[in-house]
């Protein structure tokens, strides 16, 4: 089959699934709603109706947030894998999430009265700090960036930052508050956060889509890219800024969720091939689908209690990843 036709079909299927998941997520939860209530809440809102209020004020922002964060995490994973030429890379592995987590913990402890927007600035700053450290450490010795050294530096930084934030949390007795957030929970996302942070996430995702022709180019060696007249450092820097913004915001909103960034790009490649112009849109939609699905399960599995959706993702993600790795060794 022509790759473009295949891509169009696959993407359409994923978008349909996305729409179904969005509607299901709005309808089902600790509080079950009828179709009519959902439709009225969206198109014919009456603020006196409690069910409609729940849908409008709590569930819709939460669902949109879950979708955006899923896209953001998957996107930053795809970008990292591409830039480091390492199929196992994601923003977690390279210490970027832990940098964000450390700064967040510090902001919780030292400035407990900050709003989410303000703590997000801390988080993005932490992500930036970690990536500067990781890339700085790994490019200290040679002019060329080696993927192996990069991952080693990332793991070292990640361990160091995680130790620091856990220690800080223990000392200040914040452990309990942070635990849920460590596993990833989406319950806190509200309209206010969405309005302030959503545009940044959408902006980051758009830049990532515009970057895709250059991402394909990263398949070549640095020498080859340079000999085509392209500046590889500019491509790397823009990609990295994108990753810092996307993962910084995601960590601030839902915590350090593992596996989305790692598996989704592989599933996308498995479905549409290696061309990033096709892989990236697939990655964004698939990432949203995975988090939506996990969040829906997290809310309905044991109502009215919430299961952290990060756990669900790991539960679904790990076996699927192993299956993929076994089925098609070459692509992973």
């Amino acid at each position: 089959m022509n790759s473009r036709v295949r891509f169009t079909i696959q993407l359409s299927i994923e978008i349909i699934i996305l729409c179904i998941l969005l509607l299901l997520s709005i309808r089902y939860g600790a509080n079950k709603n009828s179709n009519d209530t959902v439709m009225n809440a969206i198109f014919n809102y009456q603020s006196s109706n409690l069910d409609q209020q729940i849908i409008r004020q709590i569930r819709i922002p939460r669902v949109i947030g879950a979708a955006l964060i899923g896209s953001a995490l998957a996107c930053s994973g795809a970008l990292m894998q591409c830039v480091t030429k390492n199929p196992m890379a994601d923003s977690g592995l390279l210490g970027i999430n832990s940098g964000a987590a450390l700064m967040l913990t510090m902001s919780f402890i030292f400035f407990p009265k900050l709003s989410t927007q303000q703590t997000t600035i801390f988080s993005v700053f932490g992500a930036a700090l970690a990536s500067i450290l990781v890339f700085g450490l790994s490019s200290m010795k040679k002019a060329q960036l080696s993927p192996t050294i990069l991952v080693l530096a990332g793991m070292a930084i990640s361990a160091f930052f995680t130790a620091l934030s856990e220690g800080l949390a223990l000392i200040s007795q914040l452990k309990q508050d942070l635990a849920f957030w460590h596993f990833g929970g989406i319950s806190a996302v509200n309209w206010n956060q969405l309005i302030h942070l959503g545009p940044w996430v959408i902006g980051g995702l758009l830049v990532a889509l515009l970057l895709t022709p250059n991402l394909n180019l990263l398949n070549l060696s640095d020498d080859s890219i340079q000999s085509l007249g392209k500046n590889i450092n500019i491509i790397r820097s823009i990609t990295l800024i994108c990753v810092v913004i996307l993962s910084g915001i995601s960590v601030a909103l839902v915590g350090a969720v593992a596996f989305v960034g790692l598996i989704i790009p592989h599933i996308a490649k498995f479905l549409v091939g290696a061309d990033y112009r096709q892989v990236m849109p697939m990655t964004l939609i698939l990432g949203a689908n995975l988090t939506l699905c996990a969040d829906l399960i997290a809310r309905t599995i044991n109502p009215p209690n919430e299961t952290p959706f990060g756990i669900i993702i790991s539960l679904v993600g790990v076996p699927f990843f192993i299956y993929l790795a076994r089925k098609d060794n070459q692509r992973i």
Binding site: K142, L210, N216, L217, N219, L220, S221, D223, S224, Q226, S227, L228, G229, K230, N231, K269, G273, A274, D275, Q330, R331
Partner: protein, 264 residues
């Protein structure tokens, strides 16, 4: 006329001075091959004239213009480079790879022009890859893959093509295919070819000019017949070679390590 000239070039790589005070001239429209032992600085020199390394002293001239004063994207329209490490397997298709060759000519976010499509198809045709153009590089043999990389350089549509050891890791048939393709580009399209080779018989058979370097210092340069001599090979490679004449090109039949007093 010379297409590339270096004047008193010194290059240091990883803080070691690898090329000392090197001045060479590479004539336009000919095949010029760099020869020399491992670690002699062949790759460093190739990368320097390809604008991938910057000399710490001296200058490189492309078409009489100092290469350091030109924009990388302008150089990419005059000079295509096939680095040594390039022959790696990726999941891209042959056509994707060849399309990269058009990057120096493309405006940001613009689709491929009619000319781009023509040049890409023509490069694929030239490298005899028509039947393989939609295959992934990772599914091709080493020789086919190398032809794909050369096709990318062809699509770049430059007067000069630089290749760093294009036949490494290939069996002898595929080596020959690659060399014949390169020669054809020179003869039929009058492109200047600059390459580094280890196989001296390939160098002698397919080149017009040879440049021999050892430990970053120019040993000898000139037409093939003048460079491949018993005395020169002894100086450059420390070998005692038996050289015969084959169709007016020197051919090395066999060689031994040269030891003082033993060789005749």
């Amino acid at each position: 006329m010379n297409i590339i000239e270096t004047k008193n070039v010194c290059v240091s790589y990883e803080k070691k001075l690898t090329i000392h005070d090197l001045s060479i001239q590479i004539p336009k429209g000919q095949v010029t091959t760099l020869i020399g032992p491992n670690g002699s600085g062949k790759s460093t020199l190739i990368r320097t004239i390809a604008h991938l390394l910057h000399p710490c002293d001296g200058s490189v001239f492309l078409d009489s213009q100092n290469i350091n004063q030109e924009k990388a994207s302008d150089i990419a329209k005059k000079l295509a480079v096939l680095p040594q490490s390039s022959n790696t397997a990726t999941d891209l298709t042959v056509k994707d790879l060849v399309t990269f060759g058009r990057i120096p000519y493309r405006k940001r976010f613009a689709p491929l022009s009619k000319l781009d499509h023509e040049k890409i198809d023509w490069a694929i045709e030239r490298a005899s890859l028509k039947d393989l153009q939609n295959r992934r590089l990772s599914t091709l043999s080493g020789g086919q893959r190398q032809r794909a990389w050369i096709a990318m350089a062809i699509a770049q549509d430059t007067d000069t093509i630089i290749l760093d050891e294009p036949t490494t890791y290939l069996d002898l048939t595929h080596q020959l295919d690659v060399m014949l393709l390169i020669k054809e580009l020179n003869e039929k399209e009058h492109r200047t070819i600059i390459m580094a080779l280890h196989d001296l018989n390939h160098a002698a058979r397919f080149s017009d000019q040879l440049i021999a370097i050892k430990k970053g210092v120019l040993q000898v340069s000139g037409p093939v017949q003048e460079v491949i001599t018993k005395q020169n090979l002894r100086n450059i490679f420390n070998i005692d070679a038996t050289i015969v004449n084959d169709h007016n090109k020197p051919l090395i039949l066999t060689y031994n390590r040269w030891r003082e007093g033993i060789a005749n």
